[in-house]
């Protein structure tokens, strides 16, 4: 079936926007090759026979009269074995391959497939001739690495197909591994699926999330948890630690696969991720963290239109693994840069601007991106569940939360980690405000967490949050009339809340031990702190002053709890009995 070639001529060039004439036969969102350099672009508007094209590469040196050829397919990614551990640009070109072709700088017009065509993969068929299969059903598997078993699935849209042939063995991604018949059509299949990035991959149905995504970060896991299949946003001014939080989640979140989209951010940061991940060990699998990670790097100085595409490339890859039944966490850093790319292109299209110059469709674009997250029943004859959690960083100008991108995001996400520069100035990291942040998932995940970690958790968590809330009110009073006006029990709250802040919430991402905290350890830490509160209250009732309580040697031990390794958690339990003894000692002294 050969299509008629669609070929036009450039009429106008203005930055990343190119207008081509004689394009009446082109389809909306088709990918085109622009000019003598064959730059990759996408049709985003059609007026009569004029096509408006956003070009994913710099357009210098391109001029009117040059040729524009349509590939007659929308912007798509290649899905198959070989995605894991690869670093791509915004339109799924492997950066390693680009460097082999064009050296240290990214030159233009490079056209390389997303998946390696030379590498052979060991395919094991799991169906046989004559079997009936439908969309999403597993045809066979490939061990992508020691952790990830890739399911080669029947592409969406195909139902009741009969396998005519299928063979196991070593194949490259584009070699035919079998064929099936559906209706009156026969089709050969390979290990690759192509999927347009702007189209959601289908699933059976979506369900409310029920399991917590444990991140190893105490302030998040204890107070503002994210669910598997949930959405979160991290807004904050520069220097408040957005990227560090994203990196921490990429390293430690208990997802099967991480898709990290560096969207318009610093080049050196991506290098950092690239250098660090291979060396870090996943505490659950004992394998290198790189073996579960896919990186998409479209740094700020790479073309702006590809930046716009990068988060869609990322989420489509995430959906592919979700369809196999994996839990995926996708980090997008930063969605503000993506929105700015939208704004820039909208400006070039001379569209009527909305708030702050952003296009009027900003909110709906943001919403449609986050809505691709979720906990779903996958498309397959068998029972299969998968999830995508999305964590988006937002970089509002001056940290101002009234920014349209922040507001559009907050309307759709369920978790809000508010980063504050005042905390960052005090070097309290992660600088997540315990007063302004929220998570609407705790009720969803409560049952699962209680069953796994203990019934008491819900009330412990609530109590700790309450102490911090009261602290805030008390500090207001102290600021007005001084510390002297507070009662002993109020002072105890200030003392304990300080412990919660400094010894529990504060977490050092650069310390080997403190970087990741298991739920078990976190539980024990909070348990000790609240036990301290209980003992302290008892002591105060016996006329002991807070200053005395603050002097017990166990305070030092509490402060060092975070540095206790996961293997020696008993050390944390022991603090309780030490506290008992030491408070007892004070009480004895008073009685004397």
């Amino acid at each position: 079936m050969s299509k008629k070639e669609v070929k036009g001529r450039i009429k106008k060039v203005a930055g990343p926007l190119v207008v081509a004439s004689e394009m009446g036969n082109a389809n909306m969102f088709d990918v085109v090759k622009v000019g003598h350099l064959k730059l990759i672009g996408e049709i985003i508007e059609i007026h009569g026979d004029e096509a408006f094209i956003q070009v994913y590469e710099e357009t210098g040196g391109i001029g009117p009269g040059e040729e524009v050829i349509s590939t007659q397919a929308p912007l798509s990614v290649e899905l198959g074995p070989g995605l894991i551990s690869t670093i791509y640009d915004g339109i799924q070109r492997p950066l390693k391959k680009i460097s082999e072709i064009s050296g240290n700088y990214i030159s233009r017009g490079i056209d390389i497939p997303g998946l390696d065509r030379d590498k052979k993969w060991d395919f094991k068929a799991s169906v046989k001739k004559g079997d009936k299969v439908s969309q999403g059903d597993t045809l066979g598997t490939v061990e992508e690495n020691d952790n990830i078993t890739l399911k080669i699935m029947v592409p969406p849209g195909i139902k009741n197909a009969e396998i005519i042939s299928i063979k196991s063995g070593k194949f490259t991604v584009d070699q035919v591994i079998g064929s099936f018949k559906y209706g009156d059509k026969t089709k050969e299949f390979t290990m690759i699926q192509k999927w347009p990035v702007r189209k959601n991959r289908p699933y059976k149905n979506k369900k409310p999330p029920i399991a917590q995504l444990v991140s190893g970060q105490r302030v998040i896991d204890a107070f503002f948890p994210l669910a598997k299949g949930g959405t979160a946003c991290v807004p904050g001014p520069f220097g408040s630690g957005k990227t560090v939080i994203q990196h921490q989640l990429a390293k430690w979140a208990d997802a099967d696969i991480i898709v990290y989209v560096g969207c318009g951010e610093r080049g050196n940061e991506m290098t950092d991720v690239l250098n660090e991940l291979p060396e870090l060990i996943d505490p659950r699998t004992g394998k290198s963290l790189m073996e579960r990670t896919i990186l998409i790097a479209n740094t700020s100085n790479m073309p702006v239109a590809a930046r716009e595409a990068s988060i869609f490339t990322g989420i489509t890859i995430a959906e592919y693994y979700r369809d196999m039944g994996y839990n995926i966490a996708l980090m997008a850093d930063s969605t503000s840069r993506w929105a700015e790319a939208l704004r820039e292109i909208s400006g070039r299209l001379e569209e009527m601007p909305g708030e702050e110059g952003y296009p009027a469709y900003l909110a709906s674009r943001v919403a449609s991106f986050y809505e691709r997250a979720g906990y779903v029943d996958c498309l397959a004859s068998e029972e299969r569940e998968g999830s995508i959690s999305v964590i988006g960083a937002v970089s509002p100008p001056g940290g101002d939360l009234s920014d349209p991108v922040v507001q559009a995001t907050l309307r759709v996400v369920k978790v809000f980690w508010s980063l504050e520069s005042s905390l960052a100035y005090r070097r309290h990291f992660p600088a997540i405000s315990w007063l302004n942040s929220y998570s609407l998932y705790y009720d969803n995940v409560q049952d699962e967490v209680e069953a796994k970690e203990g019934k008491e958790w819900t009330s412990m968590r609530r109590e700790a949050l309450k102490i911090l809330q009261i602290e805030d009110e008390l500090l207001e009073i102290v600021r007005l009339v001084g510390l002297e006006s507070l009662s002993q029990s109020d002072r105890l709250i200030l003392f304990i809340s300080k412990i919660i802040r400094e010894d529990f919430l504060h977490q050092n991402a650069f310390s080997d031990i403190d970087s990741y905290t298991s739920f078990k350890k976190m539980f024990k830490m909070l348990d000790v702190i609240l036990y301290f509160m209980k003992k302290g209250t008892m002591a105060i009732e016996n006329k002991i002053k807070v200053e005395e309580i603050a002097k017990v040697p166990a305070v030092e031990k509490v402060a060092r709890m975070k540095l206790v390794s996961e293997k020696e958690l008993k050390k944390i339990d022991d603090i309780k009995s030490e506290l008992d003894k030491e408070i007892e000692n004070i009480l004895d002294k008073v009685e004397e």
Partner: protein
């Protein structure tokens, strides 16, 4: 053969519209010959069919529409490169403006460069000693970093940048830095300050200077940082030099960008700056770094003046989102007579963690940094409390912190603009100041370091030159 057109139709601001042209490319370089023979240069901003919109670098004044001869050059703006550029001064278009004669180029490059592939970047981790305690000790600069100075009018950013350029070196190695300096719209006096400073210390031999003064055409400022950075890339990645690039003042650059955007009647973003300001700035700042397998490096120190000292103004704001930290200068410190008036709390070096510690600076660096920082923060809090409640309301502890904060500003942050402190001196100075506290109060420092340094000879012998301080210790 270059075709010549006399079909100019419209001028508005620095923009010129030429009609009936053919075979024109986007971003092509253009020469415009005026009726009096003067030749100006410009660049194609937009092409549609047979019409081209050109931005003229020297501005359009005196241009006569029917008389102007327009010649399209068939290539983008290029700069001629050669190692001989060191020791020379260039104008806003990359032409030598000293009396040293023409440069004989080794090669020519498009000034826009191309993005460095993140895959081939080398993570910057080599400590640069600037000899300035508030930078080396607290906001450590590393090779390949981009660390801007956020300043305000009247603050000594020029002095600080010149001091860094003069003193910067890498521990234990005698490699020379080359300096590439781009001045955008600064005054003659400020430019003269840098040039004479470089001359005095001999640094001029290792420097290439690109100068666009306040009364030079604003539009030239768009190209000048790109020429400087192309030169830097050439020197760093072809010639293996460690290049320090100083760009001043980025605020003027952004204003030039806004001027063109307004002339093109584009939809403005915040405060009238174009929506693509972030992308545009990142195309400048991201041209810093190191490349795997290459000897050289590019370290960038852009300087910008914050309008009204407002950090949330779009220029410092967007810069902060791209650069790897920032050095912020604060007016209150200047008023106390402290040089350099670095606001330690608001300043940050994102690459510090991998550039300090054993084998890079000294094992205790991170600990000392955290401790000094914590104590200073406590001191400032006490100071705030003292303002509200009066000093009488302070506890003994608070007073100790307060005194520490004062000493810290006076002896640690404050230093002479010719004082070149090595990193060990800076670290020992930190210890000296921390001796105000008992060993047990230094909670952020590992015991082994306290044992080793608290009473070490170097620390004990260190003189602060003030009897008042020695007494208080």
């Amino acid at each position: 053969m270059v075709k010549e057109y006399k079909t100019s139709k419209e001028i508005s601001g620095p923009l010129l519209l030429v009609e009936s042209v053919s075979n024109i490319k986007y971003e092509e370089l253009v020469e415009i010959e005026l009726q009096n023979g003067e030749v100006r240069r410009g660049q194609v901003l937009e092409v549609e069919d047979d019409r081209a919109l050109i931005q003229i670098f020297e501005g359009a004044s005196g241009l006569n529409l029917p008389e102007a001869k327009i010649r399209f050059q068939g290539k983008g703006i290029e700069i001629a490169l050669s190692p001989d550029m060191l020791g020379r001064v260039f104008d806003g278009q990359g032409r030598p403006m000293d009396n040293g004669g023409e440069i004989i180029p080794e090669e020519k490059r498009d000034i826009n460069g191309a993005p460095i592939n993140p895959f081939v970047r080398n993570y910057p981790s080599e400590f640069i000693q600037t000899g300035i305690s508030s930078i080396d000790g607290l906001n450590t600069l590393v090779r390949g970093q981009k660390l801007p100075i956020f300043s305000g009018s009247g603050l000594p950013h020029a002095q600080l940048a010149a001091q860094i350029a003069r003193q910067a070196k890498v521990l234990g190695k005698h490699e020379d830095f080359a300096v590439v300096f781009a001045a955008m719209g600064i005054t003659y006096e400020e430019a003269e300050y840098f040039i004479s400073n470089f001359k005095k210390t001999g640094a001029i031999e290792r420097a290439a200077l690109f100068i666009n003064l306040a009364d030079d055409p604003a539009i030239e400022r768009i190209a000048i940082p790109r020429m400087a950075l192309t030169t830097a890339e050439y020197l760093a990645f072809e010639k293996g030099l460690h290049v320090l690039v100083i760009l001043t003042d980025m605020t003027n650059y952004c204003e030039a960008l806004r001027e063109i955007s307004a002339a093109r009647k584009e939809v403005p973003g915040r405060r009238g700056y174009p929506g693509y300001l972030y992308t545009d700035l990142s195309n400048i700042y991201e041209r810093a770094g190191r490349i795997k397998g290459k000897e050289g490096s590019i370290t960038q120190i852009p300087i910008l003046t914050m309008p009204e000292d407002d950090k949330t103004h779009p220029i410092p704001d967007l810069t902060g989102y791209i650069t790897e930290g920032q050095i912020i200068l604060a007016r209150p410190l200047l008023k106390k007579g402290i040089y350099p008036p670095v606001d330690v709390q608001a300043s940050l070096s994102r690459l510090k963690d991998k550039g300090i510690g054993e084998g890079r600076t000294r094992e205790d660096h991170a600990n000392v940094f955290n401790q000094l920082f914590a104590m200073y923060a406590q001191g400032l809090e006490a100071k705030e409390l003292a303002v509200i409640l009066g000093e009488g309301a302070l506890s003994e502890d608070d007073r100790k912190y307060l005194a520490f904060a004062d000493d810290f500003e006076k002896y640690y942050i404050n230093q002479g603009d010719n004082e070149d402190r090595d990193i060990f001196y800076t670290l020992n100075l930190g210890w000296k100041l921390l001796k105000r506290f008992e060993k047990s109060e230094l909670k952020r420092i590992k015991d082994e370091f306290i044992e080793k340094y608290y009473d070490s000879e170097d620390v004990n012998n260190l003189k602060l030159g003030s009897s008042e301080f020695i007494q208080s210790v």
